[in-house]
């Protein structure tokens, strides 16, 4: 408990470094990853992440130290090599890119594990702590690590800000970027290098196995929240920071715990929440919209039924029992009862002990639905040349979504017809432009 409190207060300078470093590299990986995702290079990102392992081990074997600069260079070289090999295989052989990625990932990672095992058998692994690179250990970052990795991370973020416009165009339309004279191969090289660097600085905290989660998941989650690239990149960066902070705290609070899996948990939760709760694209928002539409359709169908019943009796304020309404408009009885109760709360119907009747607002709204329904039927039969018995179903749904503007446009385009294709009169609002004799006097 003490350690958590200490960590949260950032009272320990060492913890401060770790948290600060993790935030920076989480942000950098996510920001660079946004372009990886948009360029549909996610799998390549994963391959690079796994492929830096032999470089890390190689650097240790050569220098016999765990100096961050040596590891950075080693990881960078093997990460880059994996990209070159993927590109070479795809271009020079018949192997397709996804297979090439799979091959390179497993070969490089396999070689890395082999080297790691060899190092461990020499006995120096314990103090080398190289195995931490598999699943990450944020708390093992020292000031030196934080300075170097954090510096690279900050540089990556700055480059994205600087080249934002160019990366935007490159990700959306490469050909156009080339045509207007952008140095597309150079920009490609830059973005690939940045991806490798983002992976390299991230591995100490996250580990090679799960690094791709920090690269890809925040961007994928951010895509749910916005349709603007700038916002998406910033959001991805924020999600990456969150993952970084959480990883750092957990790593300092429970040092025996690997950090990578925890970071994956955080990013996955963020992703899941985005899938569920993002406005518009999210599952919940879609369900809410669906529910709202269902309710509106039910309510308006009830009002229309009451209106039509009043129409045939030329008396709109008659009281109708629930059974009568149900007989006129087939729907689940429970839905009808709930709908009537809701309409009463909203002031469209009144309840008397024998049943229900429309208020004047209810009459207006029921009349409008009937009007839209009939206008749409006229429109279909005039402009789509549908037979009168084919227009009803479409009108049943269109009557609920037409806006007042569209209604006005529809009516004037049809020149205010008096009756629909079934010869039912079309009830206009009192003041609508119309020939006098078509008015319904009951409104």
């Amino acid at each position: 408990m003490d350690t958590i409190l200490d960590a949260l207060m950032l009272s320990n300078p060492n913890v401060r470094y770790v948290v600060f470093g993790s935030v920076l590299l989480g942000c950098a990986a996510a920001v660079v990853g946004a372009f990886t995702v948009l360029r549909k290079r996610s799998l390549v990102g994963d391959a690079v992440a796994h492929s830096v392992l032999p470089g890390v081990c190689g650097a240790f074997l050569v220098t016999q130290t765990k100096h961050p600069l040596a590891l950075l260079i080693g990881a960078f070289i093997s990460g880059w090599l994996s990209l070159v090999v993927i590109d070479f295989i795809t271009r020079k052989t018949r192997v397709k890119e996804d297979s090439a990625i799979g091959i390179v990932l497993s070969v490089f990672f396999g070689a890395g594990i082999l080297m790691l095992t060899a190092i461990q058998q020499t006995g120096s692994a314990a103090q080398s702590g190289l195995d931490k690179f598999l699943f990450g250990k944020a708390a093992s970052m020292l000031l030196d690590d934080v300075m170097i990795f954090g510096g690279v991370a900050a540089l990556l973020i700055a480059i994205v800000a600087l080249f934002f416009k160019e990366f935007f165009l490159l990700s959306f339309d490469r050909d156009f970027a080339r045509v207007i004279g952008l140095r597309v191969p150079l920009l490609d090289l830059l973005l690939s290098t940045m991806t490798v660097l983002a992976v390299v600085v991230g591995i100490q905290a996250v580990g090679v196995v799960l690094m791709a989660a920090l690269l890809i998941t925040p961007a994928a989650a951010a895509r749910y929240w916005t349709e603007r690239l700038g916002i998406m990149v910033v959001l991805a960066g924020l999600f990456g920071m969150m993952a970084g902070v959480t990883g750092a705290y957990i790593s300092t609070a429970a040092p025996s715990m690997p950090t990578g899996p925890w970071i994956v948990v955080v990013t996955s939760v963020v992703f899941l929440l985005s899938v569920l709760f993002a406005p518009r694209r999210g599952v919940v928002a879609q369900a809410v919209r669906y529910k709202r539409n269902r309710t509106q359709i039910t309510d308006e169908n009830i009002l229309k039924a009451l209106y039509q019943m009043g129409e045939s009796a030329s008396e709109f304020t008659t009281v109708h029992s629930t059974e009568e309404i149900h007989g006129h408009r087939r729907m689940q009885l429970l839905t009808l009862q709930q709908g009537l109760a809701r309409l009463r709360r909203q002031g469209y119907v009144e309840h008397h002990h024998r049943g229900w009747c429309l208020t004047s607002e209810g009459i207006e709204r029921g009349k409008r639905v009937a009007r839209l329904h009939r206008l749409w039927e006229v429109y279909l039969s005039r402009h789509l040349h549908l037979a009168p018995d084919h227009v009803h179903d479409s009108a049943e749904s269109i009557e609920h979504i037409l806006t007042p503007e569209l209604e006005e446009q529809l009516a004037s385009e049809l020149n205010y017809p008096e009756v629909d294709p079934h010869n039912s009169p079309i009830p206009y609002r009192k003041k609508a432009k119309q020939k006098p004799e078509t008015g319904t006097r009951n409104a």
Binding site: L38, F168, D175, F176, V179, L182, E227, R228
Partner: protein, 264 residues
């Protein structure tokens, strides 16, 4: 019939282009005069898109070259604008119609500079010209195919170039919009710009264009519409592949044989 002009907007000299060693365009040699609205016409697979892409430097040529205003593309990029086929990009991208139109200004902005208010205004103007100003803020995947095509057109207009190369700008556009766009292109021509359009529909081609290039793997004809639009030449362009040409192409591919001997 191939008619050449002095001082052309576009000159293509002996251009041969292949995919995987299989030539799809053989020795194209033509000129398009400045200030014309020109149509590139030919059946599916004739190599129209390939020709434009190669001219824009997006595909390497086996031999030959293209020049605009007497210079290689690299020296006149600012004066040349390109509208790719709509299917060439993934429209499910976090960008608005205005964002895409603004891309037409990027070349003028140069590295690191963000679009300024003046660029936005210009991009909005271009959206307006193609009747898309009401959709400026709309996410691009929520546009119809024809609307996406118009956004591409707006982006090209925002480049404010002298030569426009457009690959099927009328694909998926309704008749009313097509008429409006042709009107726009005609105005551009009258302002002295050169517009070269890949076009599918023979019916309208004679009305739209004052210069026509007939293409089917090789150049069939190039010249003013009234001289080119003859029964005989059209039949030659649409009368199927040249059998020997296709077979030689396939042979080259099978043997992995270069269509041109290496120079030097």
């Amino acid at each position: 019939m191939i008619i050449h002009v002095e001082n052309p907007a576009l000159e293509i000299h002996n251009l041969t282009v292949s995919y995987h060693r299989k030539p799809v365009l053989w020795d194209i040699d033509l000129t398009v005069p400045q200030g014309t609205l020109a149509g590139i016409i030919g059946p599916n697979g004739a190599g129209k898109s390939t020709l434009i892409k190669s001219v824009m430097g997006l595909l390497p040529a086996d031999s030959g070259y293209a020049q605009m205003f007497g210079e290689p593309l690299d020296r006149v990029r600012r004066r040349v604008s390109y509208v790719p086929q709509r299917e060439s990009v993934d429209w499910d991208f976090p960008a608005s119609a205005l964002d895409v139109a603004l891309m037409g200004r990027y070349a003028r902005l140069g590295l690191f500079r963000r679009p300024r208010a003046a660029d936005r205004e210009m991009a909005m103007d271009c959206l307006k010209k193609v009747g898309m100003d009401g959709f400026a803020a709309r996410q691009i995947s929520q546009l119809s195919g024809g609307q996406q095509q118009r956004v591409f057109l707006a982006r090209a207009l925002a480049q404010d170039a002298d030569l426009y190369l457009m690959d099927e700008p009328f694909a998926g556009i309704d008749a009313a919009t097509e008429a409006a766009v042709i009107q726009l292109l005609t105005e551009m021509k009258q302002a002295g710009k050169t517009v070269i359009v890949v076009h599918h529909d023979l019916q309208s081609a004679a009305d739209y264009f004052d210069w026509i290039v007939l293409l089917n793997m090789r150049l069939v004809a190039s010249g003013p519409t009234d001289q080119i639009f003859t029964q005989e030449l059209l039949e030659r362009a649409y009368g199927g592949r040249l059998n020997v040409l296709s077979q030689v192409g396939e042979l080259l591919q099978k043997q992995q044989f270069p269509a041109r001997e290496r120079k030097g």
